[in-house]
Symmetry: C2
Subunit: 440 residues, 2 copies
């Protein structure tokens, strides 16, 4: 089938998920003629979040004041919102909690992994002495590598970076932890979670997944279909990408119940042993006693206003449930990214763009990246100036995110047409597009 | 002079700071007849925050989308807001950054202190081998003790808790770190920062201050009047108490430039080495290289919406500058707490209340606490039901905070009158006041 703008409009008209777009406050973007393909960096504003944040600030903070910790349920928000994330990643209620940033949560679960390895707490990890490596993928998001490097140093382990193609073949008895981001932030390449997790577990390696670029966009099953030996060990993820939680929204953390069990039995504490992760924070006792279960991963007082935005963002994903939920969202996501790849390759050919994202849907997240050897940065700036917002990732990646909750097929068409014009007219050669912004 | 309600109204009429109250959205509290004496737990809502948060959510997130990291200055907010806190604690611009929670920031600076001790990085610390203790005060806020205990364990040190009266006499060459909260959350007792800091420094002990209950309420001078040997080493503090930043607003962290200098020279990394504390986060390099100066204490992406509330809260304190700033606020605070003590002791006598907060203004923060041996909890609940919001801190403390920006002398009078009635009528004996809320 040959794609045309008319055909794209027909696809939108037939899209059972099309109505979900109305959850978002995109009126100004639409009035501006903006096509937003950066929901993988910052999800769009859910209309409910504007109202809900106003309520939290003006009524709960302003009117309720400190009483709102009880009356407005602030104190339970970290766990309540965690329970809303749980089904989106295949976890059960009580297994996920919202807290801090993805970086901080990685720090916590890596420490948990170190404790497991050091004390031989699981049957599969083998002897502590031989497992000396944390392995990750060379192009993983930097914060994951920075945090893992720090934790590895502090525990006398080595952080080893490998190519994505070498996962899972690199797995052996020297590895303590395999820490991967499910969908790569630059390439959009997605690991086959079930296969990789199974291989890691079979090799006695602890499996930590960063779901920053998957939660809310692709189906995730941290429990491996309920087969205990295929279930991952820990996961963390981001609230402000496909979960639409707002800029810097708190992150989440999941631990498999088999780990929570030994943590409970030994009263294991994560390093950020702040008061709200205490078993009885309002007893104000001198000694730290971690809360049972996943709540032990809470540290200090959460940013309540930002939490309110996050909850509304997660609700936009749950709103897809009557239409098939994440399976349906994934189906649409792949249709959008397939179309984008097809159109860029056919209509923007001859300008030096090379597809970076895998063509195989099984290996692709909800984004498409092209590289350009020399001029990716000004090309993206020129495209943004033409109202198509993607982003650039150094050194050479033009990155486009597709949020099936609000991205339309006609958006894909129009975005590519503008891209074609930017390229054909050489608009990106304007010197102003070479000036680097603080955030690229 | 005998206090009367009329006299209190006269004091308010003559108060040059009285107009600052109009910065806050207290219309509903006033309509409800509410007297809010819990700004030491959660500061009241600045009217500007309601408008500013709406702008951040609806215009910057909703309209600007990801572009707002640059166009709305989100990326610089942690440092910009840190610079606004700096003068409130006697620090210079570039020395304070806003990030994470107080607990997480304590974790970072305690690790910095451990590095200093381990490597003998300052002339005053003596040999690493002999300094084996982190000392804090027995009734310090639990999170400080929990975090210090974890850090001490991880570094093979011991956390030693002493009575407030034993500070600073306990200082000797066995101590590595003295970590104190300037104003105690339960008692309202304030350490004499200059004296204690000087003694710690003279003993070669690193001085860490938690300013949670002082920033924005009492003058603080972390630099010790500019005399290098009297300056503290590190400080952290809370955004949502007297800084009025909103529930769970991010916290702040300060380090003396002498430490930032060696951190820069050695590229020292704090343990939460997240990507936004990198020297060049958008270079997306594999290796962690900490940002120069205090920015290295940033970890992950900050909760931007909550940051907006915090900035407005801090601005309410700066608004006192034309009227004498923190010196004037402190003067009013002491007048309010003096009056409250006088009135409770005279008008609520005979009910078993005992003043816990020091009478000497030099030893008192901006709160007043009374203990009651058996019935503090229901007494506070009954008082809250009568529209006077203080709080209870286990096991026996009734706690009242006085924020001079918005608390009036007549509020003190009226609060004590209602307290008197609650006590005289035995209202607190109603069984419903015995039921513990999640947050006390």
């Amino acid at each position: 089938m040959i794609a045309t703008r008319t055909r794209c409009l027909e696809l939108d008209a037939a899209d059972p998920l099309a109505g979900l777009r109305r959850q978002f406050d995109l009126a100004r973007a639409d009035a501006e003629g903006l096509i937003y393909l950066d929901g993988n960096s910052l999800g769009a504003l859910p209309s409910a979040a504007a109202a809900r944040v106003r309520q939290v600030v003006e009524d709960e903070w302003g009117g309720g004041l400190v009483r709102s910790w009880n009356t407005a349920g602030w104190i339970a928000a970290s766990e309540r919102i965690g329970d809303k994330i749980a089904p989106l990643i295949g976890a059960a209620p009580g297994e996920v909690v919202v807290a801090d940033s993805t970086s901080a949560n990685l720090y916590k679960v890596l420490h948990a992994a170190m404790a497991i390895v050091r004390h031989g707490l699981t049957a599969t990890t083998g002897s502590a002495g031989t497992r000396r490596c944390i392995v990750s993928e060379r192009t993983n998001f930097p914060t994951d590598l920075y945090i893992a490097d720090t934790v590895a140093r502090d525990h006398g382990l080595e952080l080893v970076l490998v190519d994505a193609d070498d996962v899972p073949s690199v797995l052996d008895e020297r590895l303590a932890v395999l820490m991967l981001t499910h969908v790569n932030y630059r390439t959009g390449r997605m690991f086959r979670m079930a296969e990789v997790t199974r291989a890691a577990r079979a090799a006695g390696v602890l499996m930590i997944w960063d779901l920053a670029h998957s939660a809310g966009a692709v189906p995730v099953d941290v429990h491996g279909g309920g087969i205990e030996r295929d279930a991952a060990d820990f996961a963390v993820g981001c609230g402000y990408k496909y979960l639409n939680g707002g800029p810097g929204a708190p992150a989440f953390v999941w631990a498999h119940p088999r780990h929570l069990a030994w943590m409970d039995a030994r009263e294991w504490r994560q390093p950020l042993s702040g008061w709200l992760g205490h078993a009885a924070p309002f007893a104000f006792t001198t000694d730290y006693r971690p809360a049972a279960g996943i709540a032990r991963f809470i540290c200090g007082t959460p940013p309540v206003i930002s939490l309110a935005g996050l909850e509304c963002g997660i609700d936009t994903v749950h709103a897809a449930e009557p239409y098939g939920g994440l399976t349906a969202l994934r189906h649409k996501s792949l249709a959008l990214t397939d179309l984008f790849i097809e159109l860029v390759e056919s209509r923007c050919a001859g300008h030096g763009l090379a597809l970076v994202t895998p063509r195989d849907p099984a290996d692709r997240g909800s984004q498409v990246s092209f590289s350009h050897a020399t001029d990716g940065y000004p090309m993206m700036q020129a495209l943004i100036a033409r109202g198509v917002v993607g982003d650039f990732r150094a050194p050479d990646i033009l990155r486009f995110g597709f949020t099936p909750l609000y991205t339309r097929f006609v958006d894909v068409w129009d975005a590519v047409e503008r891209f074609r014009e930017v390229l054909e007219r050489g608009e990106w050669r304007d010197p102003r597009f070479a000036v680097r912004a603080a955030v690229t």
